[in-house]
């Protein structure tokens, strides 16, 4: 069992307050994504959990025990760094075995563990390869295997896939998700990419300016964003002021008609992305987005005036 409880955590760097009273409870086996733009405090929070920074105020409890009193090297935490931070002077096997050797594991134990870990990340047979001779994806896998070598209580990842191209990133996301599910390890993953967070997380923690804006399942965040920031960050790009309310409406819930009551605008541009048809519609000073499965709606030309409507039950009223 691993339960991580963070209470009123505060951290400043000089005049800059990186974390402002963060509280968060992570359940055993949960996959949490910390999501936010740069400088929102997500990496600082991860580094505090890892013990790479010292906090100013607040508590971090792991299974009820105060983690802040434990130095980084005794926390039993597996971490994958943004730069991966593989040891350049060691080959694949020795990178993965580093922590085990330090802990004094027997040679035979190390050998079986390294073989098992390499199999898990799909790199069997590359034991003797120099790290510099690995491809980007292979380096990622070695970093993951190394972080998991000591069977850590917590698995932390700091934007590990930001340097990969889109295809490889999707593949690595699937692998991480599979490994996490197989091991049932409590995982905290930092990212600025909402698509990545949606694909991976059981629960997404959206952070902004050192605070948690909202913590919830991907579906929660998408259909019931708590704040305008969350709605925009998560990719619901229609924030509409309507009858005294601020509504967040997903692009796919807007329907267009040639005539009718309600909001009117004109089509700025439309483009087809595979099966999906996306339109930008100018309404007053605002540009709204609408999407539909191509061929299911009425056809329009660019520049044409349209009437917008949506199902009131699908529009989410943001708190004022």
């Amino acid at each position: 069992m691993t339960e991580l409880t963070i209470t009123k955590l505060r951290k400043s760097f000089g005049d800059f307050t990186a974390l402002k009273d963060i509280s968060l409870a992570v359940e055993d086996g949960e996959f949490i994504c910390l999501l936010g733009g740069s400088g929102c405090g997500k990496t600082t929070l991860l580094r505090l959990i890892a013990g790479l920074e010292t906090h100013d105020q607040g508590d971090i409890l792991l299974d009820g025990a105060d983690l802040t009193k434990v130095p980084c090297h005794k926390r039993n935490i597996g971490m994958v760094f943004q730069s991966l931070a593989l040891f350049p002077h060691l080959n694949v096997e020795n990178n993965i075995a580093y922590g085990m050797r330090l802990a004094g594991a027997s040679a035979s134990r190390i050998e079986t563990d390294v073989t098992r870990l390499l199999e898990m990340v799909g790199l069997s047979g590359l034991e003797q390869r120099a790290v510099s001779a690995l491809s980007g994806g292979q380096k990622q896998r070695v970093a993951i295997a190394r972080a998991l070598a000591l069977s850590p209580q917590l698995f932390l990842m700091d934007e590990p896939f930001s340097a990969l191209d889109a295809g490889l990133r999707d593949q690595m996301q699937e692998e991480v998700k599979r490994i996490q599910r197989d091991l049932g390890i409590t995982t905290i993953f930092v990212t600025h990419d909402q698509r990545e967070a949606m694909a991976l997380a059981d629960r997404i923690v959206v952070m902004n300016d050192g605070r948690i804006e909202q913590a919830g399942s991907p579906e929660d965040l998408y259909s019931r964003p708590a704040t305008r920031f969350v709605a925009e960050f998560i990719g619901i790009n229609n924030i509409i002021a309507h009858e005294g309310q601020t509504l967040a409406v997903r692009p796919e819930f807007i329907t267009l008609d040639k005539t009718g009551d309600g909001m009117t605008g004109h089509i700025l541009r439309q483009r087809r992305l595979g099966a999906l048809l996306e339109r930008d519609i100018k309404v007053g000073a605002q540009t709204l987005h609408q999407s539909e499965i191509a061929g299911t709606g009425v056809g329009f030309d660019e520049g044409e005036t349209v009437t917008l409507s949506w199902d009131a039950s699908k529009a989410w009223a943001l708190p004022a």
Partner: protein
């Protein structure tokens, strides 16, 4: 479209090559040629082809001098790097202002001539001022004597001379290093005190070896520090060579000794390079 080739790089490169040839290769060839000439006490040399200058090297005196040169230069080089690496490591983790302060300090140290540094240490180590008096005042030394000339004083001079050079060579790569490698080592259970030995030393092994070799060659050629701070029995081959060539006006012997030292240096460097290559994973 075919781009017409640019001649500028070749021209500049060729010029540099010509300068090297005229001012480095030609004197080297001249030195090798002179090393086979007959010494002439009246003039500098007589044109001839003899091996006797080289034969003189294989006497116990020159033998021991060359071993001593290699020993003191190697020891000096290792000491310089062993001191400079940890210091630069600390400096590279300071804030920008303090880093700048140290860089400027090191650069200004490099501006000092070898002679001025030698004199400074001569005064610092002398009986009437400096360290011995300080130790006496602190009650640590009853009967203070001058600490120079001595082997230790010469070594201090060599280390002081090479320190800023090594520090400035190591600084850029240490300042730009990926610090998350050290953090990764800590998350894998390395106590902070061991990170230096388990991660930093092995990561920088290659650059440390190459900078030590560079320092070794540099210190082999140092002339002022041994003469100012060392006893005659600490004098390195460089001092002996200039002593023979200029003092005794025996240019052929000086040239022969220089050629032998050149060969020995090249052998030492090649051996170290092969050793370092053989141990790479």
């Amino acid at each position: 479209m075919i781009r017409s080739p640019s001649y500028a790089p070749r021209l500049i490169g060729g010029l540099a090559f010509a300068v090297m040839a005229v001012f480095f290769v030609v004197p080297l060839i001249f030195m090798i040629v002179v090393s086979f000439y007959q010494p002439d006490p009246m003039g500098f040399y007589k044109v001839d082809f003899v091996w006797e200058n080289y034969a003189k090297f294989f006497s116990s005196f020159y033998y021991s001098v060359s071993f001593r040169s290699i020993y003191s230069s190697a020891l000096g080089a290792v000491l310089v790097v062993a001191l400079a690496f940890p210091l630069v490591l600390i400096v590279s983790d300071l804030n920008r202002t303090w880093q700048l302060f140290w860089i400027i300090l090191l650069l200004s140290l490099m501006c000092l001539s070898e002679v001025i540094m030698g004199f400074a240490w001569l005064i610092l180590l002398s009986e009437s001022a400096g360290l011995p008096r300080l130790l006496e005042a602190l009650g640590l030394w009853d009967n203070p004597r001058s600490l120079s000339p001595s082997f230790g004083a010469m070594l201090i001079g060599l280390v002081f001379l090479g320190f800023s050079i090594v520090a400035l060579i190591l600084y850029p790569s240490l300042a730009r290093r990926d610090r998350s490698i050290e953090e990764a080592a800590m998350t894998l259970g390395t106590p902070p005190a061991l990170v230096f030995f388990k991660v930093l030393l092995p990561t920088f092994r290659t650059s440390l070896i190459s900078v030590t070799l560079t320092m070794f060659v540099y210190l082999l050629g140092v002339f002022v520090m041994p003469t100012m701070l060392g006893r005659p029995k600490d004098w390195t081959m460089t001092v002996i060579i200039s002593d023979k060539a200029l003092g005794d006006a025996n240019l052929p012997l000086g040239a022969a000794l220089a050629v032998v030292m050149l060969i020995v240096t090249v052998i030492v460097l090649l051996a170290s390079a092969l050793f370092a290559k053989g141990r790479r994973i």
